[in-house]
Subunit: 245 residues, 6 copies
């Protein structure tokens, strides 16, 4: 089985980290290919970045279909381009925010999200609401770190994340915590150990969900809202992206 793990931003150190996290949990026989789009933002911190990152994600899924991938993980905690990518893909496409939330639903009674900048709070709230997780979400906590701070050697990012996760458990009554950024995908074991409660990395969770769906023979449903894009003309810089029959 071949799974493409798409880091929607273009910071390759993060892509490498995400690829490692994905390979660490992948089953024997699963080939993980971790990529960044050829274009787009170096980090995703808001709706604007998200919109451009979505195109990069879509482009990777488009190519992935030709390359024979069985499924996709979108490795940014805003799930950019998720629904559009599903229109393209025969196999499953899973975003890491939804992966983490669904996993949390199966092992705990209430989760908190620990993310980076507070400006992403609204986007996270939109996802919690859209995914039907309002009654399971104890809190969204932010750390005042930029996404790329997580890439800095020697930063105190780990300690900051652990501290917020601990508060989520102790003050907000969460019993598990979601690591709210693809750049935290190397922290799952460390944080879990430190806080004595499950910390869920969506990249890892996403890989296992996609593996599972593919093994079940379940691809994206093609009779309704995720039907293949209709063939039509695209113009300008996007001329090459017009769907064909």
């Amino acid at each position: 089985m071949k799974i493409k793990v798409i880091n929607p931003n273009t910071t390759l150190s993060m892509t490498a980290k995400i690829g490692e996290a994905a390979r660490a949990v992948a089953a024997v026989g699963t080939e993980i290919v971790a990529v960044s789009p050829q274009m787009g933002p170096v980090s995703i911190e808001g709706f604007y970045d998200d919109a451009f990152a979505a195109i990069g994600v879509i482009d990777e899924v488009r190519k992935g279909e030709a390359e024979g991938f069985d499924g996709y993980v979108i490795a940014c905690f805003g799930d950019p381009g998720l629904h559009a990518a599903r229109e393209l893909a025969k196999g499953p496409v899973v975003g890491i925010a939804e992966a983490a939330m669904h996993a949390a639903s199966l092992i705990g009674t209430g989760f908190s999200v620990v993310s980076t900048l507070d400006r992403s709070r609204a986007h996270l709230e939109h996802l919690v609401h859209a995914y039907g997780m309002t009654h399971r979400c104890r809190s969204i906590r932010t750390t005042d770190m930029a996404v790329l701070d997580l890439e800095e050697e020697g930063s105190n990012a780990r300690a900051v994340v652990v501290e917020e996760c601990r508060k989520a458990i102790e003050e907000d009554k969460a019993d598990c915590v979601l690591l709210g950024c693809g750049g935290m995908s190397d922290l799952m074991a460390h944080v879990s150990r430190e806080i004595g409660a499950p910390a869920i990395d969506g990249v890892s969770a996403g890989v296992k969900l996609v593996e599972g769906l593919v093994a079940l023979g379940l691809g994206t449903a093609k009779r309704g809202g995720y039907a293949r894009p209709l063939p039509k003309t695209y113009t300008g810089n996007f001329a090459g992206y017009g769907p064909t029959a």
Copy 2:
């Protein structure tokens, strides 16, 4: 006051129609500039088209800020790029789906949406849920027409739309109807008359909402989720889109 009405697709006959609808309701002193993006799909019928159209919308808002526009209407009933556009704009940005739903909330007890292809149903449901309109939405009806069918001279599009609107009123107990496509913006008066109940065109509604917000001195809130995009590097085809300070 200058309002940019952005038809997110690249079909100029529709842009012209939308511009006319906008100008027909604009206040004296409001300048309406109706545009299509320089790139993107000729029509928007699903999440894939929507993702590309979002970039076109964002691009028009980016340019619009330099051109001195006071506010924006996104004239596709999926509200593509809405949240991202708000990060860019100092003034208000309103999508025609939300415009129509908010207007309907002020004049009726329950609305139906009459749209084009059934493949858009899921997207419309997402918007209804996200906007908190679930308890006001009586039904979503589709017509099995493609968006561009509405541009065909001599098609029976009008009759089909009227017929579904009538069913929404009679069978689904709606007391007003939303015209669920920018390409229906010329049908508001006709449909209202035929069905004896308000039919709401989101383009027209969006123009009046933006005019109102601008007159109130209300722009997009800049302290939270709609703060300006952070300056950062964008690469590849999107290199020119990286936000600057």
Copy 3:
């Protein structure tokens, strides 16, 4: 266009203030008539006051229809008599709580309400729930001021309101604030400036929404729950209010 702005209480200094706020934002060509009912409470602080104020509002709409008004604003943040008034009116009727909430939905990701006495909290919660705004409402804050304290010359009302609005932004993560009383309609610009974020006065917002709906040719829907009251006999003190055909 003629808009009747109804201050549902009988305190004429507040009516004058509300009228000024309305006129300050009204379009050229819009005539604002600000009135108080001939009967009812001097201020509205709870469900009991609200019930009596509703009759006053209805009476003013009833007369307004004869006087040729095109639309109405109900200028109390509990929206008294809103649904009943809509049965009477051919044109639109907008309450200032809903006006402020809808406006906030178009410019921010989450709002707080800053109101007067804490006893109104339950009523405000009912409205937030009824209007589908639960997921957008960050908090309801009260100030321990009576409504009429806002009319006292030399009171510290302004400072108190500003302080709570600031807390809403900083502690509750709202990105815009609703002024939760018609008597705060003179504070919009001042509060916005002080807190560096949009403060929304429902009177001003209501005027622009009504103007917009009228310009669109949209009146209250008459096929469902807002159909004209059925002709019937009313008795006793209300004998004169029985609807006629």
Copy 4:
């Protein structure tokens, strides 16, 4: 124990019927006084009628407090004046719509409401939503009968109500049915028998709920939203209604 059962309309034949229904279920030792207000509509069919009826209800509760009543039932299926009445009353106040819905929640998995004119649908939907009953309400069915049709000797009202109740059970999968009008309070046993499933009359249910609350020593909570109305001046025709300390 003395319970005042207030028929919010002024049709005395209905008041008598409601009184009979109340007395038929009242405990030994409970005195039922069934009244109509001195003023207001002969029937309540919409928001406008409801607003005037609310004042009548309030007036009866105001007098009731002086007369030593222990609790109140508001015997119209729109629960007019409910929250305002609670501010006045030391004891409990229960509306028949909420009474019926709460009773249904305790005996079935999903209810339907069978009411009179379709114009009341929106009002009923508001109540279902406000009371948190959305997930229990299978349908709202209307009969195209006016409220006063139920008072006509020899009408086919009974048969019509039974027929809609039967459809609610068979087509809408309800397992119990709410009689959606105070004027149906004599039909509870008949309908239950005919449809082979519980039919709930809110008048009867309301009496038992009030009796129960009074027996528990539970009156209306007075520390929050139902605190006594603040003393203040009322003017005009309502001068006599200003709350006193």
Copy 5:
């Protein structure tokens, strides 16, 4: 009328206390029989205890039907076995959590629950959500007391409960408080007095609700989800529990 009040745990001192609370509010002519199951946990503090207690409850309802009981109260604040018991019973079955929540809905604008160990929080949240009470629940507060601490002579349980109830009123803006454990059924009057606001014991409330429903002739609906269990074979230790025709 005979009502069986089932303490789902096997601690007889608690059963006695619950029986006393029930008898203290029962109407003349109501016979209260308070029982514990013949098997099961000494206290219920989590989902595991709840599952076993459910069987005990069911067994008591099964016997109760043969013994001629008219209705049942399940006297544990997790409502164990509620839906299953309803399949067995011809009359009504009410759990004390739902009884307290429904009663609170009729007298206040928002309630808090004060319970025992924090591990029950998730279960209580499930019930609040399932019963449609999310928008009425101000907070769930726990006391770090085990259920059986409430049975200790000379413990400070009363003081602890009062203190949390007070905080619920003052900090969380509740206007009434639910005593979140059957073992608190002797505290209703004391707590109410101390906090100056209604404290609701579900046992007492449950008795009055069952009495009321029985008096109305309302038993459990038998056409849908609460139809009698289908006759079938049960094996092993449960062989005796297989439903018969």
Copy 6:
């Protein structure tokens, strides 16, 4: 990895079928042990059966912990005993209703459930609501077949299931369908093929979800509502089930 798949009823032909379905999708290296409890109902068709089945499930999880299982699937579409089982288990426990719903959320925009007897409708609605899936559930369809009809050689069960699934797709606009009974676990491929859309068997989905969680090192969260049962005395027939330290 060892996964225990618990068929909560005692019909061994169904257990065998469920075991086969589980093994068919299990990864190399996953050992599937399919069991039925030693006690309980031969089929689960309502809340009463569900309560007894829960004990059987719990008992199998209790033994499973001693036997060294890594995770559990509860193979009845009512998820009996799910929360209680989670208190016992260190590893993950997944019910097939939740498994199917979560899987559906990842591949489609809206699902329908096709189940057996209509009496289970209320239970299914409870689960949909509890799991936050209300806005994704297009319909619940039932087939008027008893669970054990699915075990009959030569019955038309397959055809009936296919027919209802087809209606769900065509009439209710679902884009995927959940097979709403463990006894349908052999129909996944057949139904998918017939209806041209994904049919999801919860047994298969549950196995892959548990495998995934175990591979991620994610067990049930133990700091909150799923903490181990507190040590305490159980009496009577359940004496052996009292939790120990």
